[in-house]
Assembly symmetry: C2
Homo-oligomer: 295 residues x 2
């Protein structure tokens, strides 16, 4: 099955996956994801790209599709010429001669494939939807407010010393994280809907990871350690192949946010060897073990 | 009602629309659309931006929402900081404190509003969906193939002198345009589904207009003049406020494609005063009148 799943970067040019193995026809889906601004052979921190990558990975894992992921430098002339101004994620299904350049279309096609191939990736759950839908938006509100407040300061302001208006954005985020922690505790499941991953996990897991990496390094913020069920869920992400494979390095995540926020404190990330934080704090891990959540 | 609909460009800073007029509460929706690469006070040729703009305009026209459209220079630091790497179209609903940065989310919100406010913008029609879904993709395939073929030539190759492979991409496009012409003739309606605009029109009208402008100026291609029903539909677009308001100038459309295709034949568009082709060929107009389609 080695040929059925490939990652190609701007720097390599591996051959095409070969479906001629006598098994039922499995469509080949190519996903173009945004490259990192540090090194265009590395995956960039594009949340929609990771979300669709995880969904495709889920279909690949059960053996119903073949997948090729390609990182692309969106500023290259070749990319612009090929996709005429469309931005990643872009999905291509060569045998149908179709490019999907709109998130609605990409999701529509994956939805259709999952349905046809009977993979329960798109089960509906309104309670889950309600709980996760605005969490990343509210993280961004907090992020902008705190970065603005800290501008020009040598050290980041501790969270308990923030002026009320900015503290409020922090509280709102924590409240929403608490809701998800509670939901997970009530459900008692490995993923949001049950024992296997659905689109909701593909949406939430990458966002939680960004909050964690960016929170820690730029905001002096961490997901509260008493949210044991939420941390256990993050640990699940770190043990889920679809997440690990599609996850950018810490440095590439940080670089993305620094670039957008126009922060040039130093150029550390661009020089560091890429690393991925896929562990959780020791004390939290002990709580998880004590509650036997990791079994 | 003058305040209920505003367009703000990078160059101006009009005040906020004021909803305090005693009428039922109408939500204020701000749509950020991509500015032209020629002049960032002008609308750029972003198809998704125009599609959502037309949908919002439809809701504004029946008096249920207020709309503000803002053109944004995606390369500006202010834009990047505010939206952290998201690309237009972006919709903001300030009173809910929500930014919609994903086409799926924007459409979801407009869908919900239309439903709540009983505006039939999202009626389903599978025959229409099937007919329009791949037409723009196939136009892009033809565009790239012909531009490559014409590279380095002083004049564009006439369509009847193309090598078979490129001619095939042209034929496929014409075949699809013929299908839509036939569908419109069978339906006998002003818009695709009936006498009022739906999301399908918001999708198809801007794409047909791009094909027309780009076809004429870069490819020596025009929508065949015997497709009278299709031309009549284009004329309908040119008489629909939602389309006219949201339509970029010819120069801005051409500039977008030239930039993506890396064509630097000359810099004509950037110097010209912006104009909009919203007329159709005289002979076609006569056919339309003869068939009394314009009544």
């Amino acid at each position: 099955m080695a040929d059925d799943y490939q990652i190609q970067t701007n720097g390599s040019d591996g051959g095409l996956a070969n479906g001629d193995d006598g098994r039922p026809h499995r469509p080949l889906l190519e996903l173009y994801v945004k490259a990192s601004g540090i090194d265009n052979r590395r995956i960039g921190a594009c949340l929609f790209c990771q979300e669709f990558w995880m969904e495709l990975y889920a279909l690949y894992e059960v053996g119903v599709v073949r997948v090729e992921v390609k990182t692309v430098n969106v500023n290259s002339e070749a990319f612009k010429r090929n996709f005429l101004g469309a931005q990643p994620p872009i999905m291509v299904e060569e045998e149908k001669g179709v490019q999907y350049t709109d998130n609605r279309e990409i999701e529509g096609r994956i939805f259709h494939l999952a349905k046809e191939l009977r993979v329960p990736l798109f089960e509906k759950d309104l309670a889950v939807e309600k709980n996760i839908q605005s969490i990343y938006r509210n993280f961004k509100v907090f992020l902008r407010a705190k970065i603005d407040h800290d501008k020009g300061k040598k050290v980041v302001t501790p969270l308990n010393e923030l002026p009320p208006q900015i503290a409020a954005t922090h509280h709102k985020l924590v409240e929403q994280l608490a809701n998800i922690d509670q939901l997970l505790s009530q459900r008692g499941t490995r993923y949001l809907l049950g024992s296997s991953m659905t689109e909701y996990d593909c949406e939430l897991m990458p966002r939680l990871h960004h909050m964690r990496i960016v929170g820690q390094r730029l905001l002096g913020f961490d997901i509260p350690h008493n949210f044991t069920y939420l941390w256990n869920y993050i640990l699940t992400a770190y043990r889920t192949a679809a997440f690990i494979e599609s996850c950018p390095a810490d440095q590439d995540i940080l670089h993305h946010y620094k670039e957008q926020m126009n922060i040039f404190t130093n150029q550390r990330e661009t020089l560091q060897a890429p690393t991925k934080t896929h562990t959780i704090p020791e004390a939290v891990l002990e709580d998880i073990r004590r509650l036997k959540l990791d079994q």
